[in-house]
């Protein structure tokens, strides 16, 4: 168990989950964006550590790629939306912050319970951390449900994505490079599209709070 790569790996994973919690914790959109960026860095480091451990240059490369895209490029894309947003904070989330943080704790427990079989199946030091990947995904979901700002929704979506990517890194030695590239491209494009849409919502219709999106219903 006391393999040299375990501690940095553990730490990087903890960075991912704690930043996921931070996006729920902080009301300021700038702060949650910063947390998201840090999360991308943590994710990239996970891939790099695993790659270095398995002597897999492709995985290290993927780690660098993830770090650049999720740690830098995507947060930059979203920061425009944040800059337009006034007053730049999550006004009144559906569930207040203490309750949603407790919820996040419960979700983590749930993730832990749900993945026991999977962890036992894979049985590597990295696999022990799978619950955190799943927990990050669940926290992302939770954030999307309780947060009402356009930016918060994008951040929640990306948290889900990061959680799944984390699970993938920990559970396998990463998906093949072609798939990884395709996935990254998709995510990047999706964020770009969301940015444009958020711009439309804001400029044309002066909508920032998604509760205002009530035109379409049955």
């Amino acid at each position: 168990m006391k393999v040299s790569y375990v501690t940095p790996l553990d730490l990087a994973v903890v960075v991912v989950i704690v930043t996921a919690a931070l996006t729920l914790w902080r009301q300021s959109l700038v702060a949650s964006l910063r947390a998201l960026s840090l999360q991308g860095v943590g994710l990239g480091v996970v891939a790099m550590v695993l790659g270095a451990h398995r002597r897999d240059p492709v995985l290290v490369f993927v780690g660098v790629l993830v770090l650049l895209i999720k740690g830098a490029a995507i947060p930059r894309l979203i920061s425009r939306v944040v800059a337009r947003d006034h007053p730049g904070r999550e006004g009144s989330p559906l569930i207040n912050i203490p309750a949603s943080l407790v919820g996040a704790g419960l979700l983590t427990l749930l993730a832990f319970g749900a993945t026991r079989g999977l962890v036992a199946l894979i049985a590597t030091p990295a696999a022990r951390l799978i619950p955190f990947g799943v927990a990050t995904t669940l926290i992302g979901f939770f954030a999307m449900v309780v947060r009402r700002r356009a930016v918060s929704q994008i951040v929640g979506l990306l948290t889900i994505d990061n959680g799944i990517a984390l699970t993938a890194f920990l559970a396998t030695s990463g998906v093949p490079l072609v798939v990884e590239l395709g996935v990254s491209l998709d995510v990047l494009l999706a964020v770009a599209v969301l940015r444009v849409l958020a711009g439309h919502l804001h400029r044309q219709f002066n909508i920032q709070d998604l509760d205002q999106l009530r035109d379409l219903h049955d």
Binding site: I164, T167, A171, V175, G182, V183, V193, L194, F205
Partner: protein, 479 residues
């Protein structure tokens, strides 16, 4: 051949995006779809004997994908022709700039290409990438009219579908993990996965399959993550609604069918059947109950799409070759009928200026051609003979009871009856009654709709040109 198939829409899309707007750009799109359909026909013919492959077998056409290619090509062609009319009207009224018109033309081609890639890919992760790409491409198409409702619909669409599809990716990853613990090499190749499945860990595959049904189910419009569907279908331009309802839903369903083979091979049919039954029935309940309360005909059509996807899901739950033959025939029938209806509905909206059922009266009297086509389309959708939906619905119900799911067959019949009542009453309001002031739509609108209905009737009466392919496809799907 496969390269040509993918390249046609991609090149057309690039050209439409890059050259300055010309009147021939939408016509080029029609030509591209004609090309796609032609190549798809050739590939389908070949698929019966020797499946075509490309890129070291990572792209391949078996009968199942060949059938999907045909659906994409046929409904795509219908939508491309509808697109010519849509762009004409938008530009004429200065509701969109030429730049946006070019963008529309390019995105439709990209949309087609992404769907083609979905059904061609053997790698289930590439398949996922392609499905996600369809989401991204169509978001702008849904919001193309730039009204408040359209932007709202496209926001909901991309958010809900991205979340759903992310779940499907997690499921895909889990299948990959399961395959890496079978002793064989870790793989994402569909055929390899089906082969390795019996050695897979059951708990992991169960989790993976549930996530995949939930995830791709979002795109199919299966409950509970269906809420984007009526919004997007009612707000998108008519040709885009036609494409989404007629093809995109089916393509996402195709992804579930592929993953179903892996799950069945790993777990046996019980778990898979239960999962699909639950989502199918839930979808039916939601769709039927919402459909009965609709006052907007485009939303009504959207819920009807959900209802049909629920039926497909039930067919997949039965899982016999007979059931899949019915499912595939139903996919074709629904795709074409919905294409006709959405384009027709777009034309009605165009002429009447409202999408409220109650505001439209005496359509048959005032616009006999358009009204007639819409009525025939409805007849086709509701499963009246001679249209093929009649045959496929009959087949579905029969295969359900043959698979020991008689109660499900009963429920499905009840749902069909309710829908029949629920849709024919508003249809009667819209179509019948006196009216004054005749107006006609251009032949460009009427001819393709008529042709599509003709094909539907032809397939319904003599399944001949397709029956071999459908049976071969069903055998692949039911593996």
């Amino acid at each position: 051949m496969i390269y040509a198939l993918l390249a046609t829409p991609l090149v057309t899309g690039l050209v439409s995006a890059l050259v300055p707007w010309r009147r021939w750009v939408p016509l080029l799109g029609v030509a591209s779809l004609l090309g796609v359909l032609a190549v798809a026909l050739v590939l389908a013919h070949d698929a019966l004997h020797s499946p075509a492959r490309a890129l070291h077998g990572s792209l391949a056409v078996d009968p199942l994908s060949a059938l999907m290619l045909l659906v994409i090509g046929a409904v795509g062609l219908l939508a491309a022709i509808g697109g010519v009319r849509y762009l004409d009207l938008q530009l004429a009224r200065a509701q969109c700039s030429t730049r946006q018109a070019s963008l529309y033309a390019a995105l439709v081609q990209g949309f087609i290409a992404a769907m083609l890639l979905t059904v061609l890919a053997r790698n289930i992760a590439i398949m996922w990438v392609a499905v996600e790409a369809t989401t991204i491409v169509t978001t702008f198409l849904v919001g193309h009219r730039r009204t408040r409702g359209a932007i709202e619909a496209s926001w909901k669409y991309i958010i809900i579908c991205s979340v759903g599809i992310a779940l499907a990716f997690l499921g895909t990853i889990l299948l990959y993990v399961a395959s890496s613990h079978t002793g064989g090499p870790a793989s994402l190749d569909w055929a390899t996965l089906v082969r390795e499945a019996p050695q897979m860990n059951h708990a992991v595959v169960r989790l993976a399959f549930s996530l995949i049904v939930l995830g791709y189910g979002t795109k199919v419009g299966l409950a509970p993550l269906h809420s984007w569907l009526p919004d997007a279908h009612s707000q998108a331009p008519a040709p885009v609604s036609a494409l989404m309802s007629g093809v995109l839903l089916a393509v996402a369903f195709y992804a579930i069918v592929r993953c179903r083979s892996i799950a069945v091979s790993a777990l046996g049919s019980d778990f898979v059947r239960t999962t699909l039954l639950i989502s199918g029935l839930a979808t039916l309940v939601v769709a039927v109950s919402m459909l009965l309360a609709q006052r907007d005909y485009k939303r009504m059509l959207a819920y009807s799409s959900m209802e049909h996807m629920g039926l497909l899901c039930l067919g997949a739950a039965a899982g016999t070759p007979l059931a899949f033959a019915a499912v595939l025939l139903h996919m074709i029938g629904h795709g074409l009928a919905k294409g006709v209806l959405f384009l027709g509905a777009g034309e009605i909206l165009e002429l009447e200026g409202t999408s409220e059922i109650a505001q439209v009266r005496g359509l048959l009297a005032r616009r006999p051609a358009l009204g007639g086509l819409f009525a025939l389309g409805l007849a086709a959708l509701l499963g009246l003979p001679p249209f093929s939906v009649f045959a496929s619905e009959l087949g579905l119900v029969r295969s359900l009871s043959a698979a020991g799911l008689t109660w499900v067959a009963g429920l499905a019949l009840a749902a069909l009856a309710l829908v029949m009542v629920g849709m024919s009453a508003p249809a009667a309001t819209m179509l019948l009654g006196p009216g004054t002031g005749r107006a006609t739509s251009p032949r460009l609108v009427r001819a393709p709709l008529g042709a599509a209905l003709g094909v539907l009737a032809l397939v319904g009466v003599v399944a001949w040109p397709l029956s071999l392919l459908i049976h071969a496809g069903a055998t692949v799907a039911a593996q």
